[in-house]
């Protein structure tokens, strides 16, 4: 297990972290890429999903189209985007080379879980709750902001959390287009048997993924209006049915 020991050495050597090619810089780059992709996906996905879900429209289309979105291999999409003239391989601000292509590919990758969970969250609000809200004189929009959204938040946040972790892990794919992030270290390491470097970088990716996952779980618990703990139990009403289904 010399490789694992060497990987540990690599991780604990300060020089490998600092500098413009250091792990810290690459980590932040990948984080920036992931967060931006998430924000774009949220802007499009949440808006559409919450709106359609609130209205109760286009359900069939919504679920099936997002399912198709999951079917596109991110690697192939990135390869195609980079080969086209636009977005191509132009440097895109702090996102580096082929930054726009990578952003688009990752945003599309994040869209399905965000959209599906948000849509289902709105659809699962019990009719009785909606009716009493209307009965109290709320307009549709008031009902959405004051009743539906708060009730649906746990499921929405659950989708966001899963999307974030998956996008972070998948962002390593930017290495294939000389893009930003730790993926370059992983490929450089495994490509020519510099295993310590590759393993070290992969470990960093995994640790950050874990941190994001835990942070997401905390966020999810924080927005739960019926804070009853994390374990899923059956409630008299039947529980939160499609929990995590849209993953």
């Amino acid at each position: 297990m010399r490789n694992v020991r060497d990987a540990w050495d690599y991780l604990t050597t300060g020089a490998n972290w600092g500098g413009s090619e250091g792990m810290w810089h690459l980590l932040l780059q990948q984080l920036l890429l992931s967060v931006t992709a998430m924000l774009v996906a949220m802007a499009i996905g949440l808006t559409l999903a919450l709106w359609l879900g609130h209205l109760g429209r286009a359900g069939f289309l919504a679920v099936n189209v997002t399912n198709i979105g999951r079917a596109v291999p991110t690697f192939a999409l990135l390869a195609i985007l980079v080969t086209l003239d636009h977005p191509g391989t132009a440097v895109f601000g702090p996102y580096g080379r082929a930054g726009l292509a990578t952003l688009i590919a990752l945003a599309l990758f994040a869209l399905p879980p965000i959209f599906t969970n948000a849509y289902v969250a709105m659809r699962e609000i019990p009719d009785a709750v909606k009716e009493s809200a209307t009965g109290m004189g709320m307009t549709g929009s008031q009902r959405f902001w004051r009743v539906e959204l708060p009730l649906g938040m746990p499921l929405v946040v659950s989708g966001l959390r899963l999307a974030l972790v998956q996008v972070w892990a998948t962002a390593t794919i930017a290495a294939l287009v000389a893009g930003p992030g730790l993926g370059t270290l992983i490929t450089a390491g495994f490509y020519r048997t510099d295993y310590p470097k590759g393993i070290a970088a992969a470990l960093v990716v995994a640790v950050v993924a874990f941190v994001l996952e835990v942070g997401g779980a905390l966020a999810e618990r924080a927005v739960d209006p019926n804070r009853k703990g994390t374990a899923m139990r059956t409630t008299p009403k039947g529980g939160r049915t499609p929990e995590h289904v849209g993953t």
Binding site: R2, V177, A178, T187, Y191, T193, D194, P196
Partner: protein, 316 residues
């Protein structure tokens, strides 16, 4: 009632599954060489593995074809990187079409750590002799190296070459260039390391776009990089208006094609050596370049190109 419906569902799903399980073959794994099985298969199976880039695929198909003629039943499975198939050598992989320097340095790095001093020299046979202890440790034998080699090479656009009067790497001495190369280029004696120390070229930036990948070509064509890394047998350069710069200081280690055979397999099947050594003696770097072009530019299939060349040269 519910369970009956459940049963119907399960049966339907199983039926769907079974139709899917009609024996298939992967596109990078073939059960035998070309066409019909008229050759005697008294020698048994030979499991060939290697990398899946164009040239490696062509040569692997050649190995399969000549071994099939010799009475073996070849199975070819190509993977992405050397370390994947090396895990299976010599246990479940018998033969690999290899490159002298690359395989020797791989073993060197595996057994002596990733900072081990390179032991490859410019002569292929000398390299193999030096590496004997490593080969024995792994349980493999390298047969006769070919005169055909495939080392790293660096290219510029034709225009750049003409405008700046650059035909060999020494002409770039002191110049600042951006290099588009494989992700591991930095520090390597056959890549950035050699260019900097032996040629005195100032490499200001390395873009990890891949070894002989379209992205590397495009980067140089567009002018984002001046220099690109490829191989000496790259057949796509001329059609893209690119030219190789000669390695006049000979920084490239010997990368002659050489068959790697599991020592146990060789002992049990000594007849595997002759067909492969014959093949090695007939292959040349030029031939490889043309075959690569036929696949990469003309889109011929590696198998077809391999078989055509073999029959033209009387090997099958």
């Amino acid at each position: 009632m519910h369970s009956r419906r459940l049963l119907v569902g399960v049966v339907a799903a199983s039926a769907a599954l079974l139709t899917a399980c009609g024996g298939s073959s992967s596109s990078t794994a073939t059960d035998s060489g070309a066409g019909g099985s008229s050759a005697p298969t008294d020698q048994g199976t030979v499991r060939i593995s290697g990398q899946n880039f164009t040239e490696a695929e062509i040569v692997a198909d050649m190995y399969a074809a000549v071994l099939k003629k010799a009475g073996f039943d070849p199975q070819v499975k190509l993977v992405d990187t050397r370390d994947v198939y090396m895990k299976e050598v010599p246990g479940s992989v018998d033969v690999v079409p290899e490159y002298t320097g690359a395989v020797v340095e791989f073993l060197n790095g595996t057994y002596n750590g990733s900072n081990a001093k390179p032991i490859t020299v410019s002569d292929a046979q000398a390299t193999i002799d030096k590496a004997q202890p490593l080969l024995e440790k792994k349980g493999i034998t390298l047969l006769n190296p070919s005169q055909a080699t495939d080392t790293n090479a660096f290219f510029v656009t034709k225009k750049y070459s003409e405008d700046n009067g650059v035909t060999k790497l020494s002409d770039l001495k002191g110049k600042s260039v951006t290099l588009a190369a494989a992700p591991d280029c930095k520090g390597r004696i056959d890549c950035e390391g050699g260019l900097t120390s032996a040629y005195g070229i100032k490499i200001t930036k390395i873009l990890p776009l891949g070894y002989a990948s379209q992205q590397t070509y495009d980067s140089v064509i567009k002018g984002e990089s001046q220099l690109g890394e490829t191989s000496t047998t790259d057949g796509t350069l001329e059609s893209q208006g690119l030219v190789l710069l000669a390695d006049d200081q000979h920084i490239q280690p010997a990368q002659n094609l050489v068959p790697l055979v599991s020592s146990d397999f060789l002992k049990a099947h000594p007849d595997v050596a002759d067909p492969l050594n014959n093949l090695m003696s007939k292959l040349t770097t030029d031939a490889l370049t043309q075959l690569n072009a036929a696949v990469s530019v003309d889109r011929k299939k590696p198998e077809d190109v391999a078989n055509q060349w073999l029959s033209d040269n009387g090997l099958i």
